[in-house]
């Protein structure tokens, strides 16, 4: 077996049948990979689908007590039979060459290389101005995949579509299960990855469709939780420049900036005023989450 695909279930509402069907269409031979779906109680709608799918493809589900994506992914690696682990999000529908792209890359690349595939909203989902902005600005995953071929940050990592050897995953210390949401666990992992000099590569052929009707309201809640988690990450890894610009500003200033952007957009909405509004509302939610979280003990660095 060449790869174990680990899918941690999150509280998403996408049709998981479509995800499984896409794994059936892979150019990688079915015998070359397995799929391990890990459920920490996030979803109750997939068990029957997985039972049906397991008759025709090498898929199995494991249930865990713990909560959060980090715990689920760690458990998935524990159950994996292959040395090559491919972490995939449960709302990512892989294109036919995805598994093969990860396998081929690791056959050719060094043992400490990490492969990262992109995810794009389907054209229909991109009709929504907020989703389009969220994707193109790079704020959805921390990178604008449309620009990845030009400017790939070699330390970028997200757990939605990523592959590495099990030995490297263990060397880096697995995902930190203290992160109990489906966010920031991968960013924190990327800090350890960079510190060890591990670099990531962009795999265009490992492309996914992102089937998630992300809304502004949902994203504001995500930003608030990210702010909470950021306090924990900062306590452990020190000042993170990209976040510090948000939480070091006085909160009332961030509030005023958000209100100004909303008013400006209300007066005459353009692509620019919308973008400014979206950005400032997410900034505000992040800052509020950060300031609301309890201070964390500072770990040794």
């Amino acid at each position: 077996m060449d790869a174990s695909v680990v899918i941690a279930l999150n509280p998403h509402e996408n049709d998981f049948d479509r995800v499984l069907e896409a794994y059936l269409q892979q150019t990688a031979p079915p015998s070359s990979f397995e799929i391990i779906v890990v459920n920490g109680g996030a979803r109750g709608d997939v068990q029957a689908k997985l039972r049906r799918a397991s008759r025709i493809m090498p898929v199995r589900m494991i249930e865990i007590e713990g909560h959060g994506r980090a715990a689920a992914n760690n458990a998935g690696v524990g159950a994996a039979q292959s040395d090559l682990i491919v972490f995939m999000a449960d709302d990512f529908v892989p294109c036919a060459t995805l598994v093969r792209a990860h396998i081929d890359f690791h056959r050719h690349a060094g043992a400490r290389a990490v492969g990262i595939g992109p995810a794009f909203f389907a054209d229909g989902l991109r009709e929504d101005p907020f989703r389009r902005w969220l994707e193109d600005s790079g704020l959805l995953f921390g990178i604008a995949f449309g620009m990845a071929a030009n400017d790939w940050p070699q330390g970028f990592f997200y757990v939605g579509n990523a592959s590495m050897q099990r030995s490297l995953f263990e060397e880096l210390g697995r995902f930190d299960e203290a992160f109990d949401y489906d966010l920031t666990d991968d960013f924190e992992f990327s800090l350890r990855l960079r510190r060890r000099g591990v670099r990531t590569h962009f795999l265009p052929k490992a492309r996914c469709g992102h089937e998630h009707e992300v809304t502004l309201g949902e994203r504001i809640e995500t930003a608030r939780r990210s702010g909470e988690a950021a306090r924990r990450v900062s306590a452990r890894h020190g000042r993170i420049a990209q976040w510090a610009a948000l939480y070091e500003r006085p909160l009332d200033e961030v509030v005023r900036a958000a209100r100004r952007a909303e008013e400006q957009d209300a007066r005459g909405s353009t692509a620019e005023t919308r973008a400014a509004k979206f950005q400032s509302l997410l900034n505000l939610a992040f800052a509020q989450g950060f300031h609301a979280a309890l201070p964390q003990p500072t770990a040794e660095r």
Binding site: A28, T97, A109, D136, G146, A149, N150
Partner: protein, 447 residues
Amino acid sequence: MNAPNQAVARNAACPCGSGRRFKACCGNRAGSVVSAPGERLADRLQRALALQQGGDLVQAEAAYREILEHGPDLADAVHMLGVIHLQAGNHAEALRRLHQAAELFHWEFPTVRYNLGLAISALLSGRNRTQVERLWRAYDGWRDDLRAERRDIAPCVSIVVAGFDHAAAIEAALQSAFRQSYPRIELIVVDDGAVERLRPMLARSPHRWRIHARQKGGVASAINDAIAQSSGEYVSVLVGADRLAPTRVETMVDAVARTGAAWGFSRGTLVGSDGVELTAKAALPTFDLAYCADDIAASDTVGVSLLSRNPVISASALFFSRAVFDELGGFREHPPCYDWDFCLRASIIAEPVYVPSAEYGHSLPSGSGSPQAEEAARLASRTTFAVFYDAALATHQAENPFAPVPAVWGERFFAQVLARGHATSLPASVLRDLLVRAAAAAGVALR
């Protein structure tokens, strides 16, 4: 993304990659600021640039907009506003602004062209996904088929030894050729005047050998002449003071000849004059050999990876059938990167195979890694790619079904080319054409 005027010494090479000094290229564009109506405007522009460089895009955008209220055609402000939109992911607006800037600069400012290329690339990169995914699937199928073919053949391989400049280098190179584990080899050694002294050594060769008297010309034509004297079905080149790994020919026969592929290349390492492997970072600080080699495997296809940069650090990486060589008419002295030029042209004929193991050691010429050498290499790369670009556009029917040309990959070809910063080497007319395509794709009305 490139922003001009970022604390670059006036006599340093321009960061836009034009090959000129900063003061004679982008640095000279400060003139457009000076010619703005009044000194205050120039100060404002500097402040806006400082905000942008500090990462405060919202304030920087507001500052540029304010400047443009006073001087709507101030090219630097229009350009940098376009860059801000590019950074913020607003590609359609970036395209509009950068197009305006390109017109204001009469399409002569390399940095504007580079950034405009990125905006076009971003808008084209997600296009024709169905066609691209079909090609990816077909490519996986082609690779599967490669595994099954011609397992039992043992073709004669000609190792062509050329381009060495002193006897010590040729001795080490020849020794590496003698030690090959593959049995059916002939050696063709190009005589540059040192060979007579090497006859006793050649006499100990386990392979049959021949000396080819060197004609006038460079390394490319020396290799061509030597291959003309060879009789092998496949050719492995060995140039300069490079050395082949003992398994080199056997590995390439397995990966190329025995799979039915027509040509390929392998990974290499950098070695010192003593043959000991160098760390790439120490030898070539600005070129990450290992990362670039890994990136070949990350590309759409091995052929498409050739569009980024020259993936072979030396012609010693190459292994090809005589048929491919003959069809191409051999290596060319011009453009300057003769090995990359060969790969790019060969990729139109046949899809290459990449061998990830290090099958040769490349001995860097003296002076490698110096700023002058790197600048010369950049210029050589640009010239080489520009020559290929014309050939790619003119290829309407490629023999290789995965050839890295527009006729095969459509808009993805252009997106890849522009994403890798080649916009500065394309003619303005081509960039204009791509701009129109991208604008149509994004629904942007161009003035």
